[in-house]
């Protein structure tokens, strides 16, 4: 018989649980909703210090016990899976507690931690306890985006020359997804030159938007730009290789592929012509079910964790470098 995994959610704010009550969202929209929805998991416990969360839990997850802290939860239950959906400051202590409790799979919201030192300790603690640490850069769990990343890494568009990307809502909110996505397709980032964009709205207090030119380890370049979410939100990444381009747009819902062809208009030249554009809709996009399916597959051993703590830490290093460069008026910062 196929094993059913027990799951718990620590941190029952917006992404943890509350957005499940928003009728305009596609559901499941939260960690709580996703674990409830997955036929291979059973949601056994919740934890949040805010007493108001109990009322929301009564509607979203009736009958699931709610604890006021991670320590209380781990003293009472030993779940196979824990989602950590607290604010950033909570990631480190709760991951450490989950590892100590021997949780098999720890899904940690992004960014991984407040500091590199914390991130290193979290990775080390999970290794020692045998826990899988999975950072919720959710595009890594999307099967269509994963296929495209494999195609690009496999040479579909040749060697990547340039990458362009746009994001909004702050470096630590959506920027972290952008950096992770660039790494997913094109590998590590070695240096950054960032400029602060104080006109773009941020969601997290203390967060900032930064525009930057970045040097990839491969020798390619990337440029990221931030837009003001009050005008519109945008997440778009384009990889320009020597044999074509792949553009992931609409947050990840659509993929445009253009192969290089001989120019029909200009003899002796090749070009990326829009007439050759192939558009691929992504039906899986941003479904929380992709995350839970992925975690279950990791625990079953059918999939290797592709969003490790090390990936989250690499992203954090880039975010910190971007922030530092932005504060130093664009000075080059080596990651």
């Amino acid at each position: 018989m196929t094993k059913k995994y027990t799951a718990a959610v620590i941190g029952c704010g917006r992404i943890g649980m509350k957005m499940e009550l928003d009728p305009k969202r596609s559901h499941p929209a939260t960690h709580v909703g996703a674990w409830l929805n997955n036929p291979r998991t059973e949601l056994v416990a919740l934890a949040d210090p805010n007493p108001a969360s109990k009322e929301v839990a009564a509607q979203v997850a009736p009958g699931v016990p709610m604890y006021s802290s991670a320590e209380e939860l781990f003293a009472a239950v030993k779940p196979d899976i824990v989602s950590i959906a607290t604010i950033l400051e909570g990631h480190y202590p709760v991951v450490m507690a989950a590892a100590k409790a021997g949780v098999k799979a720890i899904v940690c919201e992004k960014p991984i931690a407040e500091s590199v030192e914390q991130g290193l300790e979290m990775i080390d603690a999970c290794k020692k306890s045998g826990s899988l640490l999975i950072i919720n850069h959710f595009r890594r769990f999307d099967p269509v985006l994963n296929q495209w990343a494999q195609k690009v890494r496999g040479g579909l568009i040749g060697d990547i020359q340039q990458i362009t990307g746009t994001y909004s809502i702050g470096l630590y909110h959506m920027g972290t997804h952008l950096i992770d996505f660039i790494r997913m397709f094109a590998g590590d980032i070695d240096w950054v030159m960032g400029k602060q964009n104080t006109r773009a709205h941020t969601a997290i207090p203390g967060d900032t938007c930064v525009d930057a030119i970045m040097g990839m380890r491969s020798g390619a370049r990337a440029a990221i730009q931030s837009l003001n979410v009050k005008d519109y939100s945008n997440f778009e990444v384009r990889f320009l290789g020597t044999k074509g381009s792949v553009c992931v747009r609409d947050m990840g819902r659509g993929i445009e592929y253009i192969p290089v062809q001989e120019s029909k208009q200009y003899g002796g030249f090749c070009e990326l012509h829009p007439d050759k554009l192939e558009y691929h809709e992504n039906p899986y996009f941003a479904k929380m079910t992709s995350m839970t399916d992925y975690v279950v597959a990791c625990l079953d051993g059918t999939v290797e964790n592709g969003s490790k703590g090390e990936d989250g830490l690499a992203v954090l290093r880039v975010l910190m470098a971007l922030k530092m460069s932005g504060e130093a008026d664009g000075s080059t910062v080596v990651v």
């Binding site: 340039q162 362009t164 400029k195 979410v229 519109y232 290789g241 029909k264 003899g267 070009e271």
Partner: protein
């Protein structure tokens, strides 16, 4: 009254002057054929000190066009109304000086306009003295669709332009110059630049390397400018992100799309770009050379003001100089 037919001459019979006409499907593709095709101009002569190029041009151009190996002889004998300067950049300044000596009414100079800022200033001063109209062939300024984008940006149709990004190949001066100029055309003057060399992007002219750069415009718009390797493909793109709409210009400027907004499908209460219903502007296969020839005629008829002046060419040159300075100082910001 019958309208005047302007006599045109082209000095420099290389690719841009004459020869690439046979390679490109979008025609006219050269100065010579632009003036051959325009009903208000007559190509009367071409000149090149390179006899090989001159002989190739003879095979391509119709009877009636005169051929000279000496530009001054052409000017003495023909006295043209319009002269295209299609020689290598190092020859622009001296040739414009010669043209102003003969008081050519309209001079179309290839880009970038000169090797140095001093040369560019001299060219502008010489043309003022001789009352010659000096136009720089940053030809996207002459294209109706790309000019319309500029007009709509100025009117605020797309809202305030927050960001723009551009792609180019084959050297910051050669092709990059067109991008810089089009950005200035649309967004006004650049306040500061930060640039890093991109030695992976090969160029024809090894001295004219590629750079990646960020620009701050005086109007507050932030722009990134990225370079690619010309051996892979040719690219010229510009994207403008306004607060109300985005504009995407691809395919060397031929494909122009305006992308509006719709309610976000992910963030309730927010908006997102609606890529499914872009508004397309301009027909495919527009010849920028055709537009250039018509622009010169309209300027000589005094129907319009020149859209690409020597001062614009000089401003682009100053930006290129600042970019080079920054790139040679590891990306340090250079104010213009």
């Amino acid at each position: 009254m019958e309208k005047k037919i302007y006599k045109a001459a082209v000095i420099g019979c290389g690719r841009i002057g004459v020869l690439q006409e046979k390679d490109w499907d979008i025609k006219p593709a050269t100065h010579a054929f632009a003036f051959l095709k325009n009903p208000r101009t007559k190509l009367v002569a071409v000149a090149d000190s390179n006899i090989e190029n001159l002989n190739k041009a003879k095979k391509m151009l119709p009877k009636g066009v005169k051929f000279f190996s000496d530009a001054e002889k052409l000017l003495r004998e023909i006295n043209p109304d319009i002269v295209s300067v299609a020689v290598p950049r190092g020859g622009h300044c001296a040739l414009v000086e010669l043209l102003t000596k003969y008081k050519a009414p309209a001079i179309i100079c290839e880009k970038p306009m000169a090797d140095t800022i001093e040369q560019a200033k001299k060219m502008i001063a010489d043309c003022k003295k001789s009352k010659s109209l000096l136009l720089i062939n940053h030809q996207r300024r002459f294209d109706p669709a790309l000019s319309e984008i500029r007009d709509e940006i100025k009117k605020g149709t797309f809202g305030k332009i927050q960001k723009a990004r551009c792609l180019y190949v084959n050297g910051m001066c050669n092709t990059g110059s067109h991008v810089i100029d089009y950005l200035r055309f649309c967004l006004g003057d650049i306040k500061s630049v930060s640039a890093v060399k991109n030695m992976q992007a090969e160029t024809y002219d090894k001295k004219d390397y590629c750079v990646d750069a960020s620009f701050k415009f005086k109007n507050g718009t932030d722009v990134v400018w990225q370079s690619l390797d010309r051996r892979a493909y040719c690219i010229w793109e510009a994207e403008f992100y306004g607060t109300k709409k985005a504009v995407k210009i691809r395919d060397l400027g031929q494909t122009v799309e305006i992308v509006g907004l719709r309610p976000s499908r992910r963030y309730v209460g927010f908006k997102e770009l609606d890529h499914e219903k872009p508004e397309k502007l301009g027909n495919q296969n527009r010849s920028f050379f055709k537009a250039m020839a018509q622009h010169v005629v309209d300027c000589l008829d005094k129907k319009i003001k020149p859209a690409s002046t020597g001062e614009d060419g000089l401003a682009a040159l100053k930006v290129l100089a600042a970019i080079k300075k920054s790139a040679e100082n590891k990306g340090k910001r250079v104010d213009i």
